[in-house]
């Protein structure tokens, strides 16, 4: 009986520990979100979106330039990244299914997903910034696209290989050529998964800072020219938060609030897509 009691106590300790661990995890999430919410809302108003930054030391001002820059950089990155990602994923799951090179690419893109993003930044710097002699919005977009491609590529591949092979064979039997099978049968089956992958990868690059530091740099004026340095929300947050002024800090909080909101929306939307897909069947 002594032994039994000891085992029961051990058991309770272990369960208590894992309960505690979960509470700690949730605690951080709530703490961070609540903190960003508290600081962000106190400075959150319309001026944030429609005004350019005020000179240091002056009251007011907004981050219009950063919002527009962020949209343009991320938008161009999406336009560059998605075709490569989807086509690459299609190649891997359909044409390169059995080949060695296909498997190699798939393993390497798995690794590329986790390559430090700052290394991508230095790479693009040496490729696009140094030869041209100046920072540019394009360089920022390309480096974000490089981070995005492996993610979309892998999810596309996974989702397309989930489509049963017999469905494809049925289409073949009707005399459809391979490209038609892919477009009309496989994409249709995998579309929800691919969309989810794209949403998640957008959420991922929207919060990236490190590669933008060396590529699109920053710009305190509004700029629509992708050839020039361009402001982005994340780099602006970095600059403002490490700066010495209190209202800079407040603006950085407000901007983080907007980013978190956008990213959480994208993530939740991605999850809902998955749920929607499975419940409609």
């Amino acid at each position: 009986m002594e032994r039994l009691r000891k085992r029961k106590i051990q058991n309770n300790i272990a369960i208590g520990f894992s309960l505690l661990a979960s509470i700690i995890g949730l605690f951080w999430l709530v703490f961070i979100l609540f903190d960003v919410l508290r600081h962000g809302l106190s400075f959150f108003d319309l001026n944030l979106f429609i005004e350019d930054p005020a000179p240091p030391g002056f009251e007011g001002g907004g981050m219009r330039n950063a919002f527009i820059g962020q949209f343009m950089i991320t938008g161009c990155a999406i336009v560059i990244g998605i075709p490569f990602g989807i086509l690459g994923g299609t190649f891997l799951s359909e044409y390169g299914r059995m080949t060695k090179i296909g498997r190699l690419i798939s393993v390497i893109s798995d690794i590329m997903i986790s390559v430090p993003t700052i290394v991508v930044g230095t790479f693009i710097y040496s490729l696009m910034v140094k030869p041209l002699g100046h920072f540019s919005g394009w360089a920022g977009s390309v480096s974000l696209a490089m981070i995005m491609i492996p993610v979309t590529l892998r999810t596309t591949e996974d989702m397309m290989s989930l489509v049963p092979w017999s469905i494809r064979e049925a289409a073949f039997a009707l005399g459809a050529p391979y490209y038609k099978v892919i477009i009309q049968v496989v994409y249709r089956g995998a579309i929800a998964g691919i969309l989810t992958g794209i949403l998640l990868s957008i959420a991922r690059i929207a919060g990236e800072t490190a590669p933008l530091l060396f590529t699109s740099f920053n710009n305190s004026f509004i700029s629509l020219n992708m050839e020039e340095p361009m402001a982005s929300l994340t780099v602006t947050i970095f600059q403002y938060a490490t700066g010495p002024y209190d209202d800079w800090h407040a603006m950085a909080w407000a901007a983080s609030f907007v980013i978190i909101l956008a990213i959480l929306l994208l993530t939740v939307l991605g999850r809902l897509l998955v749920i929607f897909k499975y419940s409609s069947k």
Binding site: G25, D110, I149, T234, I259
Partner: protein
């Protein structure tokens, strides 16, 4: 194809750009030199390397028990209604961008650390011989310990979601047969589930290690950028990524630039090796159980 080309491209261009400093200092000399002096043009990677490893290892030490606890709780203990919300909540931690972690760490967490937690630690451990010295120094909040804790929060979701997935793979029959001979939950977890999902958990830990190695923005906020070896938990130091982020746009000489490229190459090679190793282990683990 693009992926292959870009990978090779990264590697080649980094070697090419870092050639100048590589040939000036030599590879091993660069790694073991602890001087980083742009004025005298002497550069060595020892301090950022050590800083990177210390913060990463500390972060792992904090994160592993917590995330395994979470994984076990989600899969084995908690009521099934709570399962889905809880795992989504933990995965949301991974969705928060690193710069937010950094800002939160700088403005909210660092002051808490320096006012309450670090003096407390100092009070408790400061006088014990041997481990006392690592709790010395002025607790500013911008230091190794804070950076490691922030890092550990960031990698918890990675380890716990991979661990959760592998734990779920444990066949129900094995667990039920263990319960039927009268074992407690803890004994099932310890003797049935953990041995079964060992490889997946190792893999998850190593992937998280790769993440922590390459994390930039969060650490840049809370670590300071001081080129000196940390002698206690309350020292500021530097990591590879922090050095890169702070000095890349300021480098004025070719040699300076090229040394920074060499740092970036080192980081790339280290994380590449770590991640390949993780893939290998996970692959080996899945092979062992499936075939």
């Amino acid at each position: 194809m693009v992926v292959l080309v870009s990978l090779a491209g990264i590697f080649i261009s980094l070697i090419f750009e870092s050639w100048e400093s590589l040939s000036r200092f030599g590879f091993f000399n660069f790694i073991f030199t602890d001087d980083w002096n742009p004025v005298k043009e002497v550069f060595g990677a020892a301090i950022p390397l050590v800083g990177t490893f210390i913060t990463t290892i500390l972060a792992l030490l904090i994160a592993i028990p917590i995330s395994l606890g979470i994984a076990v709780f989600i899969t084995e203990i908690c009521p099934s209604k709570l399962k889905a919300p809880l795992s989504i909540a933990i995965e949301l931690l991974a969705a928060i961008p690193s710069i937010i972690y950094g800002m939160w760490g700088l403005f909210t967490f660092a002051p808490i650390m320096s006012e309450y937690i670090e003096p407390g630690l100092q009070f408790v451990f400061g006088d014990i011989p041997f481990i006392g010295p690592i709790f010395q120094g002025t607790p500013l909040g911008i230091d190794v310990l804070t950076a490691s804790i922030v890092l550990s929060i960031m990698i918890i979701p990675f380890i716990s979601s991979i661990a959760r997935d592998t734990i779920l793979l444990t066949p129900q029959v094995l667990k039920e047969s263990a319960y039927s001979i009268g074992t407690t939950e803890w004994e099932v977890i310890k003797d049935v589930i953990l041995p079964y999902s060992k490889f997946g958990i190792y893999g998850g830990i190593i992937i998280a290690l790769g993440r922590a190695l390459g994390e930039t923005m969060a650490v840049a906020f809370v670590l300071g950028n001081r080129h000196a070896f940390p002698t206690s938990f309350f020292d500021a130091t530097s990591t590879i990524t922090v050095t890169l982020a702070n000095e890349f746009t300021e480098a004025d000489s070719n040699l300076y630039m090229s040394s920074l490229y060499l740092l970036s190459l080192l980081l790339f090679v280290i994380s590449f090796i770590v991640l390949s190793f993780a893939k290998f282990i996970v692959h080996k683990g899945s092979k062992k159980w499936n075939g």
